[in-house]
Symmetry: C2
Subunit: 566 residues, 2 copies
């Protein structure tokens, strides 16, 4: 009985080695110390009461620990999804209202269900939907939006201007109204965070700490800031905006209320949040893969992130994904198995049960500083520099996506990014390589007429198509064929050599049909040669082969033997 | 002086043959007869006063005639852009208000400027951004939305429900409130239009008319309906909603008023309208290319459509594109040169100057019938059927786009379509062909170990990559490499044979960097062989070649000679 039960446990738990426990426990403690301030901050970023961020940190950790394929990825609220949540919910309800909270949980639920579905359908390839430069542009743009959005809270200014650049201008115009106390608290905290990223690790290292330990300690600075600022505000009763009373105790459980119009309005944002969260999580898991022996499995990640979002939704949380900062603290802290995630959840439960009252005096300006510091780490100039040097089209796609996010906002930004990913593909595809070929005398080989001394016939034109045919290059291929036919006016037989064509999509099939009938009118026969077996099978299903004015030849040589003499 | 002037005239005008004039004139007259009812109808569809549709038909014809590359394409308001205009302007102003009219003209202006810019940048390849199935799904979905949206006007019912399926339900619930007179007028007109598409051509043909003449006459039925319904309403003073007084005279000229927030809100819709209008126009021009000897040039089309939209904007019009119905009437009517477009503009000017008062009694229900009939011709089941049989992924992309338009509306629908176009590419790309190869004994040729008897070495693994490397397949390639290394545990040298790789994008470059350092840790050297010249140049710009743990070999044979003995 017991052994039947134990056999159903995950591998890592059945074979758990005791010597790993200390590392898992220490990592869990450190992750909790970062998860508390970040959870509060990202909930605020999403327009939600801060405690929602703690709710969304608890159960998702458990769900991911049980299903995820990375032992170090730490799942919970992240800055990017906080911004996307705020952007999705803004038109639907007033921030902080009960409807808004319910909609945030519903968003997580829908997003989770979609990811779970994609995972069950084994659509892990979705993580390749966007190129690195486009993702980098999107994340950098979102980070800049996040920073601009937090300036008000950081400086204690009220602005009513929309978002992005407009808000920046408006804030600049209201700078004289800044609240000195709030601003000095916020800017001071920001300064500490920035210095702790650059100077503190080096300082600690010089004091004798190993470099990675020093960096790890410096990463826990947000918690130190939280404690220090709470003490400061309470000791001197400073008149600054604070987060106020948080509900104590574990999150209540329940399904978010939903009606069809709300679900419909949230479907698309949920899809985007799910995909972006997935793409980011998997890239974090892969960057940290060297900390643990197991390989990251995209399909398992889809299911685990789906479950984590559903877990967040039923505990009145918000959309969640893997957090880079917390995952690296987890990994560096010594986490080697998912037990660290389970212990982290336990730690967060303790915080929720007994320590929430301590947090009430946390100044909002410090939260803003934490958000800004985290967001500024997301701005990625290195990818832009590399892409600019290596592949200009990729650099333009990056800049276009970044600009799209800044000008049109986060959702249109993703659409623009997807469009640009596609556009760069099409751009390159629209210059397919096609060669006029002839036979190398004395052999059965056909080579490019421009590079080799070959034998050709006046009435036969042999074109070798060096890429698969799809909607992105059919027009270019057609134009090239027409150009070559113009150059060879005596041609009566056009032979397309398909040795490199491993796919013909419906758009290309339409083109071949059209080409066949156009050429028939001009009294030119269209032949195919060296068609791969499975491509031929596919063409047989369509009726192209029946309507073809010419023949299908096994080899170009066979075609020449047949047609050359005519 | 005169000859210098004449040399600046377009080719077709300098070499105009008099015998073409009768055809051009007749075609122009017929096009005008269709342009008047369609212009009125599509302006109404866009939420604009009907006369805007006539304004938008006049100058764009002139602009396109001077710059376009198709002598038969007829440019002006079209149903698809009418719907997209309404969707873009709905959140910005009340339909029919002065702000709404100005915004419609601004939309045309922005869209025109973008197309003109794309044309000057020679981005004609943009017409390949979407696959045929995705375009078909988008157009069918939009047509269904258009039809649902016109049911109110057709039946004389008032519905306040949003759009799409909801509106359909609401209308079904209000069916008992339908206005009998309006409904019978509308349904009667619709019946006539449907019959005139299917039965009338056959009937006329049986009465002795040639088939194409019969079809052409049947296509002019909308004008006949307009005249008949006006006579009916006026003779019997029928109490039905009519379009009312239209301003007479030529369109006034001027630039639409604009401020930055409005421009910003319209940029993305303008881009979508421009691209969709361009894609549709070019596909119409290509389908009708057989009517005229000239070839359709995508870059020239971009510039001409851009100019047409700008011309529409400065005459207080709306976004325009090539109309299939009017273009085929134009072509069948005998148009062989752009003169037919210029004569059509002249005809429309006459209508605006002298005949607008006759149109005031035109019932709105008849306009709705004209729109519904035109939209129903856009619903395309044939492409779905073919794609379903030939390439299931394409069929899913079609259905996904169609569903996206119906559920989320027209703009999200395009985004979904672009996403699905990309997704089908990625889907196929994520299964790249990679072969483990070995040397055919006695030769320098390397072939697939699964198909040929070849010689391999225990410590060298040769992989031939049969596709270009880009963000869509890097993960699959990496996974395959890892799998093969696991299968060959004694390998110390991995040779990637790049003979089929004609491009490596930045995402793939990142993967190669990562692979190189991962393998170095495992004490495996990474070598490249048979790298194409221009790919090598590109890799040299990045620092991959310096960091490569192994060598770059000219041929796989050279690599084997070097490494095989070690």
């Amino acid at each position: 009985m017991l052994s039947a039960f134990s056999r159903r446990l995950p591998d890592w738990l059945r074979h758990y080695r005791r010597d790993l426990f200390a590392g898992d426990l220490l990592a869990a403690l450190m992750t909790v110390m970062l998860a508390v301030p970040q959870g509060l901050a990202y909930a605020a970023l999403a327009g939600l009461p801060p405690h929602v961020g703690l709710y969304a940190s608890l159960l998702p950790l458990v769900a991911y620990a049980l299903l995820g394929s990375s032992p170090v990825l730490s799942v919970g609220p992240v800055a990017l999804l906080g911004l996307m949540t705020a952007s999705a919910l803004a038109p639907l309800a007033a921030p902080g209202s009960p409807e808004y909270l319910a909609a945030a949980a519903l968003l997580a639920l829908l997003s989770g269900l979609m990811l779970l579905l994609f995972g069950l359908l084994r659509l892990g390839a979705l993580s390749q939907l966007l190129s690195h430069p486009v993702i980098s542009g999107f994340v950098s743009g979102a980070a800049i939006l996040i920073i601009i959005g937090q300036l008000q809270a950081l400086l204690g200014i009220r602005s009513d201007a929309g978002a992005g650049a407009l808000m920046l201008l408006d804030i600049a115009g209201h700078l004289h109204q800044l609240a000195p106390l709030t601003a000095s608290l916020g800017l001071g905290a920001l300064l500490v965070l920035i210095l702790s990223r650059s100077l503190l690790p080096r300082l600690l290292h010089r004091l004798g700490l190993p470099a990675n330990r020093a960096a790890l300690l410096a990463r826990l600075m947000p918690m130190l800031l939280v404690v220090a600022s709470i003490l400061l505000v309470q000791s001197f009763s400073l008149p600054v905006a604070v987060i106020g009373a948080l509900p104590g105790g574990l999150p209540p459980l329940g399904l978010p209320a939903a009606d069809w119009p709300l679900v419909r309005a949230l479907l698309l944002p949920a899809l985007m949040i799910g995909l972006i969260g997935f793409v980011e999580s998997i890239s974090i898991a892969q960057r940290l893969a060297s900390y643990a022996p197991s390989r990251v499995n995209p399909d398992a990640e889809l299911r685990a992130l789906g479950a984590a979002n559903i877990a967040s939704a039923v505990s009145y949380g918000m959309p969640v994904a893997g957090s880079f900062a917390r995952s690296i603290v987890n990994a560096e802290g010594g986490a080697r198995t998912p037990l660290s995630g389970l212990l982290g959840a336990l730690g967060l439960a303790c915080v929720l049960l007994w320590f929430t009252t301590l947090l009430r005096a946390l100044p909002l300006a410090v939260l803003a500083a934490i958000i800004i510091s985290a967001a500024s780490a997301l701005i990625d100039l290195r990818t832009l520099r590399r892409a600019w040097r290596y592949d200009r089209a990729d650099a333009y796609a990056l800049l276009g996506t970044l600009g799209g996010v800044l000008v049109f906002g986060i959702e249109a930004g993703i659409a623009i990014g997807i469009g640009l990913s596609l556009a760069t593909l099409i751009w390159h595809a629209s210059r397919p390589h096609i060669a006029v070929v002839g036979r190398v005398p004395g052999t059965e080989h056909f080579r490019n007429v421009q590079r080799h001394e070959v034998k050709t016939h006046d009435n036969v034109l042999c074109l070798r198509i060096d890429e698969s045919l799809f909607f992105g290059n059919v027009r270019a291929v057609e134009a090239r064929i027409m150009k070559e036919l113009k150059r060879h006016p005596n041609v009566r037989h056009l032979v397309l050599i398909m040795s490199s064509v491993s796919r013909i999509d419906s758009t290309a099939l339409d083109m071949l049909h059209q080409l066949n009938s156009d050429l028939r009118q001009r009294d030119i026969q269209l032949h195919l040669a060296e068609v791969k077996g499975f491509v031929l099978d596919q063409l047989q299903q369509a009726d192209l082969l029946e309507q073809l004015s010419g023949e299908v030849y096994l080899t170009a040589f066979e075609a020449e033997v047949h047609l050359g003499g005519k």
